[in-house]
């Protein structure tokens, strides 16, 4: 899911990454709406709110919203910073570090919310800031490593693309185009996963409360570990294959001599 980059990624890689991360984004967004009455996985609405509050001279809200938008941007900046600067050293860790940082942010929200949160406005603002930064990290990372084909924290672009693709499918030549069909499959997977995450969060929040963030962290850990696991298996298989080749070569040499 994480160690492949750009055009080397298969549809299956993108679908696995897209479905798991959009599921968590859906959960985070609904949880933040229920708890804090504000969204945390997209910023389009905040641009409109920023303008409206600016006109109404509500400067406190202007600054709060500006910092949220900026933190989402900062998250995306940070995620791609790791990808751009660390990929030559170790591609897996360059892709995994933003995710680790995201897990840390969301775990911090979960721990603080569960054990220390007194529902003051300042606490709400800081917890939402952490969540928007985390969502910026996630969106930046998935978009960056998938050559902009996996964006998981908001569905505006996905809905637009689906509309375009579905209209194209009214022509047989496009319907038979595997690339377009794969794109539609990927987007539909992301949309369904996001929606499922949102429904799961909305229906279980009452029981889990802030512990819901630990569930999200667990899913993200699965994304991290899945790759470590597959890399280990691939390495093991590679070593086994090489050993077998050496053994066969040795056997042949022995036979010839």
């Amino acid at each position: 899911m994480l160690h492949k980059y750009s055009n080397n990624r298969t549809l299956a890689d993108n679908m696995r990454l897209g479905s798991l991360t959009s599921f968590t984004a859906g959960m985070i967004n609904v949880a933040s709406f229920i708890i804090f009455l504000s969204f945390s996985s997209n910023v389009t609405g905040y641009f409109a709110i920023f303008a409206a509050e600016l006109v109404r001279a509500n400067y406190y809200q202007v600054l709060v919203v500006a910092s949220w938008i900026f933190l989402f941007f900062f998250g995306s900046f940070f995620a791609n910073l790791f990808v751009v600067h660390l990929s030559e050293w170790n591609r897996y860790w360059a892709h995994a570090l933003p995710l680790l940082l995201e897990i840390f942010c969301l775990a911090a929200v979960g721990v603080y919310g569960q054990y220390f949160y007194k529902e003051t406005l300042v606490e709400t603002e800081y917890l939402l800031s952490l969540m928007l930064f985390a969502m910026g990290l996630q969106n930046g990372l998935t978009a960056s490593i998938s050559n902009f084909s996996v964006k998981t924290t908001h569905l505006t672009g996905a809905t637009t693309d689906l509309g375009i693709l579905f209209s194209m499918f009214t022509k047989k030549q496009f319907w038979n185009n595997i690339e377009l069909r794969n794109k539609a499959k990927l987007i539909l997977t992301i949309v369904i996963s996001y929606l499922s995450g949102a429904v799961v969060a909305a229906s279980t929040y009452r029981y889990f409360q802030f512990k819901l963030f630990f569930v999200v962290c667990f899913i993200l850990v699965v994304v991290l570990v899945y790759d470590l696991y597959t890399i280990k298996i691939l390495k093991y298989l590679d070593v086994a294959k090489r050993r077998k080749a050496v053994h066969t070569a040795e056997k042949l040499i022995a036979e010839n001599s």
């Binding site: 804090f36 009455l37 504000s38 709110i49 109404r56 509500n58 400067y59 406190y60 809200q61 600054l63 709060v64 919203v65 500006a66 910092s67 949220w68 900026f70 933190l71 900062f74 900046f77 910073l81 600067h85 529902e119 003051t120 406005l121 300042v122 709400t124 603002e125």
Partner: protein, 162 residues
């Protein structure tokens, strides 16, 4: 490497600047403290065009208007609201006094009131200055629409009068 350090420092500087600026702007949680007296209960929007006349009600403080707009809400019997810093709100009516918990949520645009029986009501803070508070809420018991509740800050008004 210089570019990286420069960019990162610039972004952190912007974040610190926004945080510093926020300290100089009044916080809604502080602005709302004190005594507020109800000035008007009005319909701002109605869903049914036949109910448009309700938007132009003359007596905006009549109990009948308050009952119509917010009978399902506990606040409808109050006349003055006292927000204290411990998160308690005292709702004083003509012959009633109620104590509820209050919190400001979202980006400072939602007022949450929680009653003893854990009933929670949310109001949109449309305007909040040192002298005026405007709350909006959905009114859907008799006439569907958005209701508007306007307050004057009693402490400020008294100060100005003196």
């Amino acid at each position: 490497m210089n570019y990286l350090a420069g960019f990162t420092l610039l972004l952190i500087a912007i974040l610190v600047m926004v945080a510093q600026l926020k300290k100089h702007v009044p916080n809604p949680e502080e602005l709302i403290l004190g005594n507020w007296t109800e000035k008007a209960w009005q319909y701002e929007k109605v869903s049914n065009p036949n109910e448009l006349h309700r938007k132009h009600s003359v007596d905006t403080m009549a109990q009948s208007v308050k009952d119509q707009l917010g009978k399902h809400l506990i606040i409808h019997s109050a006349e003055t609201w006292h927000f204290n810093s411990h998160g308690k709100l005292l709702l004083r009516g003509a012959d009633t006094v109620k104590m509820v918990n209050w919190k400001v949520k979202g980006r400072g645009h939602i007022l949450e009131l929680e009653y003893a029986n854990q009933v929670i009501e949310h109001y949109n803070i449309t305007e909040l200055t040192s002298t005026r508070l405007v709350l909006n809420f959905d009114s859907d018991i008799q006439v569907k629409g958005i209701a508007k509740l306007t307050f004057d800050n009693l402490d400020r008004v008294t100060q100005i009068q003196q």
